[in-house]
């Protein structure tokens, strides 16, 4: 028994000795880690990832959009740190941005579609910059390593005490501590990100608005599972509960005077991509969320041809009760606006054809082909016109 105790003490001492400190200072501008450190290993991994990302088909390469997003990052992070950051706009229809320890920041187009102004986007970018500056990846990595060591120690101790079943409990506790730590880092990123954004002159109240919009969108989701996951927190959640984040951000903004939102600049910079981003969002097939988002954009009052077309597409794809009738009305409405895509006429033709209005369909199809002589589906559309014009 004494030998076993000695063994446990030895393993315990080893595990404790191998604990790495999570108390690390913020990264300095222009700094990179010593090659012998664990931090260098993390950087190396992300350097490899970044190399692959540069050739990825997911990358949005438009120079104007990239320069615009980079400008906001630099506004928030300051020009010195900005030189250490590489920003990539990634075509993914989900609300997200990520930050790697080596200065690689990804901004997903789903976030750009959902932000209503520069202030809202700036908050997310400030949050991500805090992860970089405060070296959160390194802290998380070390915490994970320490948790694994602690879990091992508990397992050995439990086995030695003849209570092997308790080792699972040790693992669970270590894991929950790790997730809890991750949530604390997210809180820190919210707080400091907010400070950077307001220091740059942006309207701090928009941080909470962004989250409120996201909550409303998820509440409109067709996925009950997603709604449940979003509304409930557990010891294994990676982020704090959104309602907690909203309350914190509202508290921070309460005593501040309003800053800049730059809504028109934001709309102007993102307008050329709106139609594509809405198309990409529809591939997710969460029509509750799709329609919530489109209706919110319609409230803004511009690009209505593009937006009513997207609304009609969501209704057509959903095919709920009465959706096809509503879709036809939305297609028709879209065609009244100058920014409506030519394919809105083709879709209107399809809607009329489906309900048996052949002459209406032919007229809509003819307008479509006039507007888009190089249409990829010209042969199919012409075939319908020819067949049914003869019948007529």
């Amino acid at each position: 028994m004494r030998t076993l105790l000695k063994l446990c003490c030895g393993v315990g001492a080893l595990a404790l000795a191998s604990c790495a400190s999570t108390d690390v200072a913020p990264i300095e501008t222009g700094a990179s880690p010593d090659v012998t450190t664990d931090e260098a290993g993390l950087w190396q991994q992300m350097d490899k990832y970044e190399q692959a990302l540069r050739t990825s088909a997911l990358l949005e390469r438009d120079p104007a959009l990239n320069a615009y997003v980079r400008g906001i990052v630099c506004d928030v992070a300051g020009t010195d740190y900005c030189e250490d950051l590489r920003i990539y706009v990634v075509n993914r229809p989900y609300f997200n941005a990520t930050m790697a320890p080596n200065g690689l920041m990804e901004v997903w187009t789903g976030l750009l579609l959902r932000a209503e102004n520069e202030a809202q986007l700036a908050f997310v970018l400030g949050h991500e910059f805090t992860h970089y500056k405060n070296r959160h990846s390194l802290k998380n990595w070390r915490k994970a390593k320490n948790a694994a060591n602690a879990s091992l120690l508990v397992s050995i101790g439990a086995a030695a005490a003849g209570a092997g079943g308790a080792s699972e409990l040790g693992s669970l506790l270590a894991l929950s501590a790790l997730y809890g730590y991750g949530r604390d880092l997210e809180r820190e990123a919210d707080m400091e990100g907010f400070a950077y954004v307001t220091a740059a002159g942006y309207d701090g109240s928009q941080a909470a608005v962004l989250w409120q919009n996201l909550v409303a969108e998820v509440q409109a989701s067709q996925s009950k599972r997603k709604k449940r996951r979003f509304a409930r927190s557990s010891i294994f959640s990676s982020h704090p509960l959104t309602k907690e984040r909203i309350a914190t951000l509202q508290g921070l903004a309460a005593d501040l005077s309003p800053g800049k939102r730059n809504e028109q600049d934001y709309i102007g910079a993102t307008a050329p991509f709106l139609a594509q981003w809405l198309d990409d969002d529809l591939v997710r097939r969460d029509f509750g969320e799709n329609l919530f988002l489109i209706n919110k954009l319609i409230e803004r009052g511009d690009m209505l041809g593009t937006l009513f077309y997207a609304k009609a597409e969501a209704l057509r794809l959903r095919r709920g009760e009465g959706d096809m009738v509503k879709a036809e009305a939305a297609y028709l409405k879209a065609t009244k606006f100058s920014d409506a895509p030519a394919k809105a006429w083709r879709a209107l033709g399809d809607a009329l054809r489906r309900k048996g209005d052949t002459s209406g369909a032919i007229t809509a199809y003819q307008i479509y082909l006039e507007l888009n002589p190089a249409a990829v589906d010209r042969l199919v559309v012409e075939n319908f016109i020819k067949t049914h014009a003869l019948e007529g």
Binding site: A57, L58, V376
Partner: protein, 193 residues
């Protein structure tokens, strides 16, 4: 109880499991029948993967799936998907029996996008026949996440309210062109059984 008692049972179970497994097999030039539903003539030797019952589909390849994949699917019913995910939060594109020609192409391309193909784009859609039945044939382009460009072609028909589909895609560079004529011949020979 004697362990000899269990031996025949284990052997029988193992045999039953082994025979239930379908393996990768060769498809020699000549007639190929998918699921007793689609018949085609193949001109080269293809490798066939087992049929996936969940999506009612089967994959064939010559150079390996990433370098060229032909997919057959038949009798897909309204509300069913061409792809499968274990993520229960995801909502998949599903086939509808009232889909018009453009919507059929959209359904197939959205399914590919959902599976990870990037920048999927319809490049041509035209009327065609699936044996004696009306169909559409379309070509498309796309890219893998790491930027490799793909080209593809598909023939789709809705017969008795169910979907019949043959789809081929391969890297645009070299592989698509290498098998394009063979694939066009297969599509031309396709009939519903």
């Amino acid at each position: 109880m004697n362990s000899n008692f269990f031996r025949p049972i284990f052997c029988a179970l193992a045999l039953a499991i082994a025979t239930a497994c379908t393996s990768i097999s060769a498809v020699a030039p000549g007639p190929f029948v998918f699921d007793k539903a689609i018949g085609v003539e193949v001109g080269k030797t293809w490798t066939s993967y087992p049929r996936t019952s969940r999506t009612k589909s089967q994959r064939l390849t010559i150079d390996g799936l990433p370098l060229g994949e032909m997919l057959f699917s038949a009798k897909l019913k309204s509300g069913q998907a061409l792809i499968y995910t274990t993520d229960r939060e995801k909502i998949l594109p599903v086939f509808r029996d009232d889909m018009l020609p453009g919507e059929l192409a959209e359904f197939v391309l959205d399914s590919l996008s959902y599976s990870g193909m990037q920048q999927t784009k319809l490049t041509e859609l035209r009327p065609d026949r699936f044996g004696v039945d009306e169909a559409v044939r379309f070509t498309f382009s796309g890219a893998s996440a790491n930027g490799l460009k793909y080209s593809g072609v598909s023939k789709v028909a809705v017969i008795n309210d169910t979907l019949y589909l043959i789809l081929f895609y391969a890297p645009s560079e070299y592989y698509y062109g290498l098998h394009e004529q063979e694939v066009q011949n297969i599509l031309d020979s396709a009939e519903v059984l």
